[in-house]
Symmetry: C2
Subunit: 298 residues, 2 copies
DNA sequence: AGGGATTCATAACTATGAGTTATCAAACAG
DNA sequence: CTGTTTGATAACTCATAGTTATGAATCCCT
């Protein structure tokens, strides 16, 4: 390990790397300029790395120095997170876990998962917020939430993904519609009916998948409404504004004035996925993932 | 940031957390026992966290202490990596990048990617090794390689995945076989012919996908040989030991005594994916991923 | 029970090295 | 050329990590 080098050196290094000016940096650090000079020199010798180029009374980061700056900021940020999480544990809390989810996850997956988790960690405080796919991505990157439940294929680098539950699609109709699972022949029966769908902003890849279903059925749907919210889709269907295609698991909890015809013959599936930030140090995240990996949703 | 606390404190903490014995730990650290006692106490006060329970002349980690130990080991490991990478940069090397890949990646994807990368980073040393999917996973977890090229759906936690190139499957036959792309009717023509396939140890999910193809065609293949290596498959086909189904991009570079019939009508595709370890601090990894994300293979 | 051994904590002392002030040489700006 | 600003060097001082000496509590043998 980096013996000889102390924390202080890294603090001084980061200050100087920002200011690129010994006097200014030393003032900001409340030490004298020669003191800083010596500590930096010492650090460079201890690590065997030239961090700064000093010429023409100009200070400049070397390539190695630039890399160090970038990575150290990161590393220290993480160290801070570790300490504040440890402080939470110290204060008697098991900690808290912030979840984001798309509406359809609440029907089936989240209740099962939380129940299982509570068995093992009864004193955990949960923050649970419905948000669309993109909002979850942003919140994860900013570490405003710990895990997200999304329907999308790709996530930005730095986020990890775990498929949880593969779902078929279902056609959703008003309860009194003449077509039902008995006499349903195929989607093409619906080529002249209006559809209410999740907006493409909900998730581009999800949207494309649904469009592919229509494409395979040989027609482009008449889209009467776009929305980002399952219950408003169902409300519209109830009132005869059209039909829709949604993940089958949304069926649970909404059987009132609408009916579902599961499209299990078509190849398309939609997978609910768990995503999280790989640099998150929340001590509960690891536990949560372990449980998520082993829960079997059916 | 954790001012007051110095590096030394963390070193001492880790030693004591291992030994759970002040005198033993102090000896290992080459300091006196009271010295260690004071530093630990100081650290606990500075952080506001009780790290150890001291009772009945027994020392024990608190919950917070256990968490700290786990995470700090991690964090310091990463810090070490940062320093050794910075040292590489300092010594004039742009660095090196170690790749693992499954054979089929070498036909199309890797050459394009490396060429593109070399344009921007001419002084990078590459280590390139063919290995099967599982071996790459293990090597990545041990950080023996920086990136892998695999065909599999899921990877263990801690690894990140980026789909690179989606490929169709092709039926491969001896050049003189009576069936060719002109008179090819469907796979079921081959239900009595022997097949040579990639072993299921190559990648479970890849194997299942290929079996699905046969299943869709309505028969179970007679498997005459399993192997893990494309060129041995082709050698066997050349010598009339049977046919095979492989990713289409393997066609490049092997047109001698065999022929490919692309199965672009079946739904199955195989995606070559880039995987890497999220804790890897190799300064070139970031650059490599940026380029991989933006190269379009066709 | 009681003496010896082992645990960690406390108190007072020592000495290492971080931080100080004073100064210098080099480069720039006018 | 002169005054100013840069970072480096040298000699000093002082804060504190680490020391030794000791103590209180617990265990472990007879």
């Amino acid at each position: 390990m980096s013996y000889q080098t102390e924390f202080r050196h890294f603090r001084y290094f980061l200050a100087l790397a920002e200011d690129l000016h010994f006097r200014k940096a030393s003032e900001r650090l409340f030490i004298s300029q020669p003191g800083l000079s010596r500590q930096i020199k010492q650090m460079e010798e201890a690590l065997g790395i030239n961090l700064f180029e000093r010429h023409n009374r100009k200070v400049k980061l070397t390539k190695a120095g630039e890399y160090m700056q970038r990575e150290l900021i990161n590393n220290f940020q993480r160290l801070d997170d570790i300490i504040s999480h440890a402080r939470l544990l110290n204060d008697g809390m098991d900690g808290n876990l912030k979840l984001g989810y798309v509406g359809s996850a609440m029907q089936l997956v989240i209740p099962d998962l939380l129940l299982k988790f509570k068995e093992e960690h009864p004193n955990v405080l949960f923050d649970i917020n419905e948000m669309d796919n993109n909002k979850q991505i942003k919140a994860l990157l900013k570490q405003e939430i710990d895990v997200g439940f999304v329907r999308m294929e790709r996530v930005p680098r730095g986020l990890n993904i775990l498929p949880l539950f593969e779902d078929t699609f279902s056609l959703v109709l008003p309860a009194e519609h003449k077509v039902d699972s008995g006499n349903f022949k195929g989607l093409s029966q619906f080529k002249d009916e209006p559809f209410i769908l999740f907006d493409s902003s909900y998730s581009q890849s999800y949207y494309e998948k649904v469009m592919q279903i229509f494409d395979d059925a040989g027609f482009a749907p008449i889209i009467s409404h776009n929305t980002v919210n399952a219950s408003s889709i169902f409300r519209l269907i109830e009132n005869n504004f059209g039909a829709s295609i949604v993940p089958t698991s949304l069926k649970l909890g909404y059987d009132m004035k609408i009916k579902f015809i599961e499209l299990d013959k078509i190849p398309q599936r939609t997978t609910l996925k768990l995503i999280w930030n790989s640099v998150n140090t929340n001590p509960l995240l690891e536990n949560f993932l372990n449980i998520a990996e082993n829960v079997d949703f059916k």
